[in-house]
Structure formats: C-alpha cells, structure tokens
C-alpha cells in the first residue's frame, strides 16, 4: 500500500532508501542535509530490513565505505552537501573506474569554500564535467520536488546497477529542506547474499562456490590495457546517452521563448512562465531531469522553433554552456542566475527574459 506523507526532501531520501532495499548508508553530518542521517538513525532500519547505517569519520571515509559495500554487490549510498562532495571526488573516480554501482546525494549549498548553508546549484560543473580525475561520467538526476527526491533515489539505484556506475542525485538545500506531500514507494526486500551471487557474479562476497577469485580494482598499469578499459567505459557512456535521457516540458509546443532550468530553478521558472503567459508572451519551460546524459537533441529540436532560450540557474552560469552546445548557434542563448545562496524570484526571471531576449 502506498502511503502519502508530509515531509522534508532530506527525510524523503531516508525513507525511500529503506523502502527501495538499500543495504547500507554511510555519511557525515553537514548542513543542509544532516536530516538524512538523523532520520535514518530515528527510523532504525537495521531492526526492520537489516540495512546498515553508519556515521563515518569524514566524507572521505563515507565514500570509501560506499566503495567497499558496492564491491560486495550491495545497494549502498551516501549523502552530503558541497564541501563534503568535494572530499568524495577521489573515491567517486575509483568507483567509476572499478565500475561499481552506488548512489550519492548532493544537497548543494553555495560556495566556493565553506560558503553558505543556503541552497545553490553551483556544483553542476563538478557533477557533470568530472569532479574527480580521469575520463568518467556520473549519471546525474536533478529532482525538483520532495516527491522526486524519493522517486529519483529509487531510480538512481536501478540505473547504478543497470550500468555498474555511480549515480548522483543533484539536489539543493531548497528541496532538501522544504516540506511537501510525498507518496512513498512500497517496501522492496533487500537481496540476500545468494541472490547477489547470482545477479552480480563480479561481487566480492568471498570465493565460496567459485573457482575464480573476484577482484574489485581500477588499476591497470599496461597502457594498451588501460586504453581498452577506457574504451569499455566510453561505450557504456554512449549507451547511457542513448537510453537514459529524461526531461520534462511545460508549455513548450507553441513557445517563442524557452526557459531552461533544472531542480529548484525549474520550480521557480514554472511561475515565471505563467506570469509571462498572462501577458500574452508565449514562453515554455524545458527542464532537464538527467543532467548527464543531457537532453542535447531535444533542446536542439526546440531551438529550431523558438527565438531564444534563457538558462536560469542558482549559480554564475554553468548549465548554460550545455544549452549553448545543444543549440549550436541556432538561436541566442542567454543566462540569468543568482548565487551564493540567493534564490531568484519569478518576477526577476520575467524581467531578465524581456531584457536579454526581447529587447
């Protein structure tokens, strides 16, 4: 039976984790996402589903615990906010290199440095352009509601295991802290070790029943071989790009102008679209749900029918680069953003669209 509850985005992450058969959560407190760990500690899932919850000594430890758990074929995750996610970058690169599945939630705050605890989207580059070392990609989901925090967490685990790749849920302090109605997913049982042995023959659960040892590693010193490893990764990324693009459109079909925004910004832009439509200006909203893979061809198609696009972000202009790459010069692409923890108002966005694209 599905339950509807009123809760914070961070709480929804914790609830959804338990319900979608998560085996282990490892995390370190940081505002504005500490409620994830706090909620888990109150819910005590180890008594109900056997899920392990551990407060680690740092985000470095958290992500490496995630590596260890993922290497055993377990559904493991961590969550943090920007400075903590920075500490995890080496580990994420290792996880991507060793082709392990895991979920990482970033409830982004404003930076750089210690910055602010207020919401921001300034970790877009870090998430989709690399962050850690080497040629790897994080499949990235950008929830825009508390409901999507829960939905995307479960989807993230499915994608992580489908592609044996780390998946980032890139949220922000606004969605993490706000309360909304959520329909929680049904309980899904955790896999037994026997089921894991069958489903994930690469997992290190001990050699029992196998002639060959399993080794989880990202090391390959022979360049010719390391190039092949990279080729395999690139092939996987092409597959992800072909199959996993997700996006949402709002009044785009007859639009003369498009707002392009993800997560919290998209929620605000929806209101801006309504205000502009009231004035008779035909504006639509294009919301990428996956930031990697990016909806390149879909945005390109819209570029053929609109006069211009405005990328609206809570940062100094990051995703706008991907919008421009997708549009490829067909129409002007402008940017409007607030940063450092500031949140744009719908009216500001209306004004920006008029000034930057209609003047």
């Amino acid at each position: 039976m599905e339950e509807v509850k009123l809760m914070k985005g961070n709480e929804a992450i914790a609830e959804a984790a338990i319900r979608c058969g998560c085996d282990g959560y490892f995390g370190y407190p940081i505002t504005p996402q500490s409620e994830v760990l706090e909620t888990l500690m109150v819910l005590e899932p180890w008594k109900k589903t056997g899920m392990v919850v551990l407060q680690a000594e740092s985000e470095t430890a958290s992500i490496n615990m995630v590596y260890g758990g993922a290497g055993c074929g377990k559904r493991v995750m961590t969550s943090s906010s920007s400075p903590g996610i920075s500490l995890m970058q080496e580990g994420l690169s290792y996880i991507a290199g060793a082709e392990l599945p895991c979920v990482v939630v970033n409830v982004t705050r404003g930076g750089p440095g210690l910055g602010t605890i207020q919401p921001s989207q300034s970790d877009y580059f870090q998430t989709v352009k690399g962050g850690g070392h080497g040629d790897y990609k994080l499949i990235t989901l950008a929830p825009a509601s508390v409901q999507e925090m829960a939905d995307h967490l479960c989807l993230a685990f499915d994608l992580a295991f489908k592609y044996r790749n780390p998946v980032m849920v890139l949220s922000d302090g606004l969605i993490g802290q706000m309360m909304e109605k959520v329909q929680l997913p049904d309980y899904q049982p955790r896999l037994t070790n026997e089921q894991i042995r069958e489903k994930y023959p690469w997992a290190t659960l001990g050699k029992k029943g196998r002639d060959k040892q399993n080794v989880i590693t990202s090391l390959e010193l022979v360049s010719e071989e390391m190039e092949k490893v990279n080729n395999r990764l690139q092939q996987k990324y092409r597959e992800v790009e072909a199959n996993e693009v997700r996006y949402e459109t709002f009044l785009c079909d007859d639009a003369d102008y498009l707002l392009v925004a993800f997560g919290s910004s998209a929620r605000i832009c929806q209101k801006s679209v309504e205000l502009l439509r009231e004035e008779g200006i035909k504006v639509g909203l294009f919301r990428p749900i996956t930031l990697y893979p990016y909806p390149v061809s879909q945005i390109h198609e819209y570029a053929k029918q609109v006069k211009g696009m405005l990328s609206v972000e809570m940062n100094a202009g990051q995703m706008v680069e991907d919008v421009r790459l997708a549009v490829n010069g067909l129409v002007p692409v402008e940017f409007y953003g607030r940063y450092g923890g500031m949140i744009p108002t719908p009216e500001e966005i209306v004004k920006a669209l008029k000034e930057k694209l209609m003047a």
Partner: protein, 253 residues
C-alpha cells in the same frame, strides 16, 4: 635412490600453499612483503577460511596483493582500506575481512581511517608493513622513517626537529578501546617468521570471534629503498629499526 623415488608424497616435508598463485611476485629480492604474503596465505588455508575471507589491498608496493593470494579482494584508494573493510565487515558480518597496508598508507594518508576503524572496533584484521619508507614511489620519507634515516626526501637523514618524530602508530592504537590485539613482529629470521605466523593466526581468530580490531605490525625491510643488499637490510633493521619499534605484543585481550 633416484630423484623420482625421492619425489613421493610421503617424503614431502614442505610445500607451497595452493592459495599462493603461480604469478611471479614483483617484489624485490629481500623484501618482507613476499614473506608476509606467504604467511597470510598459509594461515588462511590452514584455517580453511578461503571461501569467506576478503582482502583489502592498499596503494603501495602491495597494490597487486590480489595477484598472489587466491581469494576475493578489493583494491582501495591510498589509505582508505580500513573504510572499505568497515563496510565489507558490516554488510557481510559472517565474512573474515583483513586489510594489508604499508606505513605511508596506514600511518600518513590513511591515519584517520586507521584510527577510527580501530576505535569502532571493526571486526577486521589489519596487517601493517612498516618498512620505514615509501617503497612504491621510490624511497621517500615515511611517517615511520626513523631518526637520522636517509631517504630521497630526507637526504641528510630525518631531522626530527624539522620533520617530526617517527610515528609509533601501533602504540597509539593500543589505547583505543576497539582494538583487542596489537602486536609487532618481523620476518627476517626463521624464529621471527614462526612467531609472525602465530600472530597472523591469532588476528584471524579474533576476527572470526568478533573480538574487535587486531593489528599486526611487521617491522620490515625495503632493501631497494634503503639502498642496501638484502642481508645488510636485515642487519640494519635489527640494529636500528627494532630500537624505535621493539618487537612483541603491545596489547592482547
């Protein structure tokens, strides 16, 4: 007697454990890593725990440990083996998890992970190769490098006023309530090898009995890094390293 008559099962007095693979080891002749690998493999076989044992390899000369001992392994980032082991142990409580780490890995970059895994009393064994140097990267100073010791980054010898003191991390780990067994061993003579093997066995037994964290330090040679012959390195270790790192049990509960 012909050679064929001698090579009979009943005449066999010593053999290689099948858990040691036939992959030629990349270790320098005279290095302690190979001996410790062999002892760990032998103990795993003798205890019959190869099906439930998971090793966590470090970044350091032992990064390829998984090529030599035929069990499941995970290769960690530099210093993070105890974090991996923590998760593996907690998610697979019936397994036998150990880390294998050098002194740079365990006592410099991974100090926090080491101390916190030990302090939580994770049911794991930590095998710690203290060769007083960064072997893999070509012989730089380690946290454990003893006073006056010449390395590529302490060419005039370690000056403790400048570079700090050799870190006696095992002593530090004894005061943590989560450790049940901390011992310091060596593998440079037949007698020390026998004692070291007993220590490895005890560490695994503690792990299976869920007694907490066991730490076995091996004061080791790195004759290449130390720029000595294997024989000189053994002598130098006994003369100098054992003064800073005396052998024996530091804690046994």
């Amino acid at each position: 007697m012909t050679l064929q008559e001698i090579i009979q099962p009943e005449n066999k007095v010593y053999g290689k454990t099948p858990l040691l693979t036939d992959t030629p080891m990349h270790y320098c002749p005279g290095c302690s890593h190979g001996v410790v690998h062999k002892l760990i493999a032998e103990v795993i076989e003798e205890m019959g725990i190869q099906d439930i044992t998971i090793g966590i390899a470090p970044v350091g000369c032992a990064v390829f440990a998984y090529n030599y001992i035929d069990i499941d392994w995970q290769e960690a980032a530099h210093g993070r083996a105890p974090a991996l082991a923590t998760a593996v142990n907690r998610l697979l409580p019936e397994s036998c998890v150990f880390t294998y780490q050098g002194d740079g890995d365990l006592a410099a970059i991974g100090t926090a992970e080491t101390i916190h895994a030990c302090n939580r009393g994770e049911n794991i064994a930590i095998f710690f190769i203290n060769n007083g140097i960064y072997g893999m990267t070509g012989g730089q100073m380690a946290p454990t490098t003893i006073e006056g010791m010449v390395t590529s980054t302490s060419p005039e010898g370690r000056d403790v006023m400048l570079e700090g003191y050799p870190l006696k991390i095992s002593n530090l780990l004894t005061i943590l309530d989560g450790t049940c067994y901390v011992t310091r061993q060596a593998v440079h003579t037949p007698a020390t090898v026998v004692r070291a093997k007993k220590a490895i066995r005890k560490a695994f037994e503690n792990t299976l009995a869920k007694k907490g964290t066991s730490v076995v330090e091996f004061v080791s040679t790195c004759n290449s890094g130390w720029k000595m012959s294997p024989h000189q390195a053994n002598q130098w270790m006994a003369e100098h390293m054992f003064k800073a790192y005396p052998l024996g049990d530091l804690k046994d509960q």
